[in-house]
């Protein structure tokens, strides 16, 4: 009986990994072409943006917060990238044009700035994260429309370097996937080895205790939203590079995919629980489920239903796990 229980507990503890492996097997059975290098890298390339944002979202969720504005932020930053590359960066007195690095830096800077607005409202003005970022979601999506005037902005031949980044390879691996891995490792190291990461996790576990330990909780809360803003801008740039287009309609509903990936990775929305590895697995699970459904020609509406069902299942599994470990 106890043996059965502990086996069950281990199964539940590694449920993300187990689901991941199961899906890997199912995927390769359904399609011979699934396990080809090309398909895998394509899949990863397509989900690099969600993956990058998920890493930032993990930090936010670890503190017990949430950011609903990431979808709009992808739209806005994708528009900004295309706009800056095409029309240059308006600096008031002059326009800085023709520089892709400058466009990238400026977009990331603005992403962090917008993220810091959310962070300020939440950490300093004590607005609930859900409400603050819901408002930001609307504001930022308005910005995206205003800058693009409602039309997609296409990259032209002056931006080949950016396009190459979106579609090219380095040592056989697509650039966006490299970027995802770099971000993943940075978050992994942050959470495992840095004071910042330790405190972020502690805040989500017991904010009062952290505050009474003499730590300025607000600064950390502010920083996680700022970091997420920067990473979301990075994802916006990657999307633009991959698709050649910056448009205000990009990223609609993307916040749900990102939150789903983090939750599938076993993170708790009340904070304090979640790892970079599991979040990455969560992203991959989401990617594989999408891939399988496309292979099986499941209509897009049904896909949504299935996706939602999987999220509920993941959270139920988590609840079961914590219940069992409590009883021991």
């Amino acid at each position: 009986m106890t043996k059965l229980k502990s086996t069950l507990n281990i199964l539940l503890q590694y449920n993300t990994l187990i689901i991941f492996c199961l899906l890997l097997i199912i995927s390769s059975m359904i399609s011979d072409s699934f396990l080809t290098q090309r398909n895998i890298f394509n899949l990863l390339r397509q989900h690099a943006d969600i993956g990058i944002i998920s890493m930032g979202m993990l930090l936010v969720i670890l503190t017990g917060g949430i950011d609903l504005s990431v979808g709009s932020m992808v739209a806005f930053t994708s528009v900004l990238t295309a706009y800056f590359v095409k029309n240059g960066i308006p600096l008031g007195f002059t326009t800085l044009s023709g520089s892709i690095p400058a466009a990238i830096i400026m977009t990331i800077f603005l992403g962090m700035l917008l993220g810091s607005v959310s962070g300020f409202l939440i950490a300093n003005r004590r607005i609930a994260p859900f409400i603050a970022t819901l408002a930001m979601m609307s504001i930022v999506s308005g910005f995206a429309f205003m800058v693009s005037k409602g039309y997609p902005i296409e990259l032209d031949e002056s931006a080949t370097a950016l396009q190459n980044f979106g579609s090219g390879y380095l040592l056989g691996v697509p650039y966006p996937v490299w970027l995802l891995f770099i971000v993943f490792f940075m978050i992994l190291i942050t959470l495992r080895y840095t004071v910042f990461g330790r405190i972020v996790i502690a805040i989500g576990s017991n904010e009062t205790a952290v505050r009474l330990s003499g730590i300025r909780v607000g600064i950390y809360t502010f920083l996680v939203y700022t970091i997420l803003g920067g990473l979301t801008a990075l994802a916006g740039i990657v999307t633009t590079a991959r698709t050649n287009i910056g448009t205000y309609s990009r990223g609609i509903g993307l916040e749900l995919d990102v939150i789903a990936a983090v939750v599938l990775g076993g993170a708790s929305l009340s904070g304090g629980k979640g790892t970079a590895v599991n979040t990455l697995l969560g992203v991959l699970i989401l990617a594989m489920v999408g891939n399988i459904m496309i292979h099986m020609n499941i209509p897009i509406q049904t896909q949504k239903v299935i996706k939602g069902g999987i999220i509920i299942l993941a959270v139920l599994l988590q609840g079961l796990q914590s219940k069992i470990s409590e009883k021991q």
Binding site: S213, G214, I215, K273
Partner: protein
């Protein structure tokens, strides 16, 4: 009606290997006031939580009115007619008296609230207890004593035939307490079985029919108040000499280290002034809600300071947050260990290093994890924390060991003033003595120590001096030789006659 209303037989309960109750039996008849006494951690609350359904017994039988009963939840307990009044009231301050009383069965009025009927029924209950409280008043506007009456009415509205009161007078003034006793007598005459938990032996002698004494999870005696003396009861409660619990006072009181001048904070404390010296152990006594914790929180920067100044070693300091306090060398060990002190799901080492991460455990933002583990092992040995190792989660430890982890957080050598708020609440006797020893050692090292405690014995045994608070103000100060339960209580409950 010969059978007891409550019959608990051989109840045992343990938490993580520690026996909280060992084969405890308790019988309470209808119309009886049965007092339950014992030290903190003796098992009184555990026993009552098992009866009310908040905890589950490991073994034993509970019979209610002769019927074997299983009480899997507080809801089931209420259905069996068991009402509990805890120290912390479970009232909604923004609802009316009547709504609070009938909160659990507002729905019985077919989904709609029939206010007139509700008010009438509430008035009837309140009158039955001999009080006059308007049922349409908001509970948040009532005094604590009246809120307690509302709690009792709430229990009665659910047809409670068994009423458990956990330290009901801790929050009441003497006149309010007298009123409560009259209420209880009235309920007694109406056939309600009352289980009464209290530390105040005088009042137990005043109202109880039977006294059961618990010690370390076992009943050590069941007596009638007119058969015994207070001393006999205390002896059975403690079963040893009180003095052995406390270390010898070897600390030397030195120079003034902290000076608080006319501190006022958030309308909870007013005009607080006192000095603390290096090497001194200063106690803060008073009833629950007298402003002791609020004083500590204001000095530590956890609550806003509206007026007043704080001088540290003669220099004025401005404390706006715990971070400021810590920079100045002031640490606070909060009263609520589980919610404010420890981070339960994290391992011991991550808890202990938390306040000193930036100061002691990092290079370029990276944590020096081997130093963290090494230091934690040192603390575990020094404080005798019972655990499998530094990586064990704090939630798996017993109360006393959790408290030691919280204490260890502040021993990194960066604090010269430590404030302990109820340092031994929910801690077993063995760990208590160890914590007292530690506090004494810290004072010997020259730290200024403030101890807030509701256990007067603790203040008497440890402190060089004690300040007594009442209703947010300092009521008086007692030197070591003046420290006695009587003197403390006098100041704590009586209005100053100036």
């Amino acid at each position: 009606m010969d059978q007891p209303r409550v019959d608990m037989q051989n109840i045992s309960k343990s938490f993580g290997g520690i026996h909280a109750l060992k084969e405890v039996s308790l019988k309470v008849k209808a119309g009886e006031i049965h007092a339950l006494v014992g030290e903190n951690g003796a098992g009184k609350s555990t026993l009552m939580k098992i009866l009310s359904g908040a905890y589950q017994k490991d073994s034993g039988v509970i019979k209610i009115n002769g019927q074997t009963a299983s009480i899997p939840s507080p809801h089931a307990g209420r259905k069996l007619g068991i009402g509990t009044i805890y120290q912390e009231f479970a009232l909604a301050p923004d609802l009316t008296v009547a709504e609070n009383i009938f909160l659990d069965h507002l729905g019985s009025l077919k989904g709609f609230i029939h206010r007139k009927k509700l008010y009438a029924k509430a008035s009837e209950l309140i009158n039955r207890l001999g009080f006059d409280i308007q049922p349409q008043r908001l509970v948040g506007q009532l005094s604590i004593a009246y809120q307690q009456v509302v709690e009792i009415c709430k229990a009665l509205s659910q047809n409670a035939e068994i009423l458990i009161l956990d330290e009901p007078t801790a929050v009441l003034s003497p006149t309010e307490a007298e009123k409560l006793f009259i209420t209880l007598k009235k309920l007694q005459s109406q056939g309600v079985a009352i289980i009464y938990i209290s530390h105040r032996l005088e009042e137990i002698f005043q109202i109880a029919d039977t006294i059961s004494i618990l010690k370390d999870g076992q009943i050590t005696g069941q007596v009638c108040p007119d058969e015994v003396t207070t001393d006999q009861i205390i002896q059975r409660m403690i079963g040893r000499q009180i003095t052995s619990l406390f270390p010898e006072r070897k600390n030397k009181v030195g120079d003034k280290i902290l000076s608080i001048n006319r501190l006022t904070s958030e309308k909870k404390i007013e005009d607080i002034s006192f000095d603390l010296h290096a090497g001194e152990i200063l106690g803060f006594a008073g009833l629950v809600g007298s402003g002791r914790t609020e004083t500590a929180r204001a000095i530590f920067g956890a609550d806003r300071i509206d007026q007043g100044t704080i001088h540290y070693q003669g220099k004025p300091i401005h404390i706006k947050s715990p971070t400021d306090a810590l920079k100045a060398g002031i640490g606070l060990i909060p009263e609520d260990r589980k919610h404010q002190g420890a981070i339960l799901p994290l391992p011991i080492e991550k808890n202990i290093s938390l306040p000193s991460l930036w100061r002691n455990y990092q290079t370029a933002g990276l944590i020096n994890q081997s130093k963290e583990t090494k230091d934690t092992i040192d603390y575990i040995q020094k404080l005798k924390i019972k655990t499998s190792g530094p990586k064990e989660r704090v939630e798996n430890l017993s109360g006393g060991n959790q408290q030691k982890v919280v204490l260890a957080k502040w021993l990194g050598g960066h604090c010269s003033v430590l404030i302990f708020d109820e340092p031994t609440r929910g801690v077993d006797v063995g760990a208590k003595a160890e914590i007292y020893q530690l506090i004494q050692e810290l004072a010997q090292q020259g730290l200024g120590i403030i101890i807030i405690s509701s256990e007067m014995i603790e203040l008497i045994g440890l402190c060089n001096r004690a300040i007594v608070m009442r209703e947010g103000r300092i009521q008086g100060e007692l030197q070591q030789k003046e420290l006695s339960e009587e003197n403390i209580m006098k100041l704590a409950i009586m209005k100053q006659t100036a």
